[in-house]
């Protein structure tokens, strides 16, 4: 025997299914909206912050610059006037205020170069690093000590004393040679008071980074 109630309901099955779809779609509209924490969670960010790879020392950077390492992209986050006074060779100037400017996104949002951010000290570069990581950009580093650190280690390194190990002298020699390379001749007997040393203006080469679209595999198929 046919269940009459069931038959009655089944005769209206299309109406029921259609209203189900409608209610589900309406539910999406009526759901309260909330701000989502997209991509980068606090844990994710902390893991990156405590990662020592976040910093690059001025010695390592100097070595890479001398070897003309093509994978390095220097970003100067100081203001334009400071950038014009002195910057590292090949650095691009993206002032801190406009770090999120979409015009610069092509330079920052990429995965081919190791980006090195620097400012006068660590402070601004670190903030920029954090902001860009929040945007989930890749391969970001901060020059430890910034331009000041660069000056104190590469351009005007402290002379090691007699009781220091051999490595300290080797490092000192390297730094002196690097200083010469970067256009600052330092005599071995330079007086500390002689600062400011004549900073030879290095005309920064404007590096052009080709913005390569990420190729995604095209899904195939159809109905």
């Amino acid at each position: 025997m046919i269940n009459r109630n069931l038959a009655k309901i089944l005769s209206k099955r299309y109406i029921i299914l259609a209203s189900l779809l409608f209610v589900a779609a309406l539910g999406l509209v009526l759901l309260p909206s909330y701000q989502k924490n997209e991509n980068v969670t606090a844990e994710h960010l902390l893991a990156k912050v405590i990662n020592p790879e976040r910093y690059i020392t001025s010695d390592v950077l100097a070595d890479k610059l001398i070897l003309k390492d093509p994978s390095i992209l220097l970003i100067d986050v100081r203001v334009v006037s400071e950038y014009e006074k002195y910057t590292l060779p090949g650095a691009i100037n993206i002032p801190f205020d406009s770090i999120l400017n979409p015009n610069y996104e092509g330079y920052l949002n990429q995965d081919q170069y190791d980006i090195v951010l620097f400012s006068n000290d660590n402070f601004k570069a670190d903030q920029a690093w954090l902001l860009l990581n929040r945007k989930d950009y890749k391969n970001l580093h901060v020059l430890n000590g910034g331009i000041n650190g660069w000056y104190h280690t590469i351009l005007n390194p402290p002379k090691p004393t007699e009781d220091m190990p051999q490595e300290a002298f080797e490092l000192y020699n390297f730094r002196q040679a690097a200083a010469l390379y970067f256009g600052v001749g330092i005599k071995t007997k330079v007086k500390k008071e002689a600062t400011p040393i004549p900073v030879k203006k290095v005309v920064p080469k404007k590096a052009v980074v080709p913005v390569v679209k990420k190729k995604k595999r095209k899904p195939e198929g159809g109905c």
Binding site: Y14, A18, F22, A25, L28, E38, K218, P219, G221, C223
Partner: protein, 196 residues
């Protein structure tokens, strides 16, 4: 948490395995619901059978509504999903050719393979036609290249074009679908029944 593979819940190699399983299920259900019959498929153009319209519209709605609920609950990250890039005129011309092929041959590419699997001869002709079409397109690619790569609009969706919240667009599309189902039912009742 989702999508599962980009977020590392499943290793990359599962991609192809899941694709094969979904493909098998898709083919089986196409055939089981009679979509390997060119008469059923062509019915949507002549007005005696709107199963194609209803099935594919419903499938799209169920998946979009489900995905947005899952996105809301944090089960999947919609921004990580792949959005197919739009090449405007390529899509329009390609869609028109596909539509003509659909109404003339009674298959769309997926269902034609399904029909080949159950041994339909017209489906074989259709698939050979597809192959010839691919050959012509490949050989004459320099002629079509401008359309193929031009009019690029990026990975846009209706949300980007209308600048409305996704939920409103989903509601609008749902209403559109329900109206289409309702109208198609009326049309089907008016059109002379075809036995197939």
């Amino acid at each position: 948490m989702g999508p599962l593979i980009p977020n590392g819940f499943l290793s990359y190699e599962w991609n192809i395995i899941i694709a094969v399983l979904i493909g098998l299920a898709f083919g089986f259900i196409l055939e089981a619901s009679g979509f390997s019959s060119s008469r059923k498929l062509a019915g949507v153009f002549y007005g005696y059978d709107f199963a194609v319209l209803k099935v594919f519209f419903t499938a799209a709605l169920v998946s979009v509504i489900g995905l947005y609920y899952m996105d809301y609950l944090g089960w999947i990250n919609m921004s990580m999903l792949y959005v197919h890039p739009t090449y405007l005129w390529g899509a329009i011309i390609g869609g028109a050719i596909m539509g003509i092929g659909f109404v003339a041959g009674g298959f769309c590419p997926g269902t034609s393979i399904c029909a080949v699997a159950i041994g339909k001869l017209d489906a074989w002709v259709y698939v050979i036609g597809i192959m010839i079409g691919i050959l012509i397109f490949s050989e004459a690619f320099p002629i079509f290249e401008k359309i193929y790569n031009g009019y690029y609009l990026g990975n846009i969706t209706l949300v980007d074009s209308f600048e409305l919240p996704a939920s409103w667009i989903i509601l609008a599309v749902t209403l559109l679908a329900l109206v289409a189902f309702f109208v198609s039912d009326i049309v089907r009742k008016r059109v002379k029944k075809v036995f197939y």
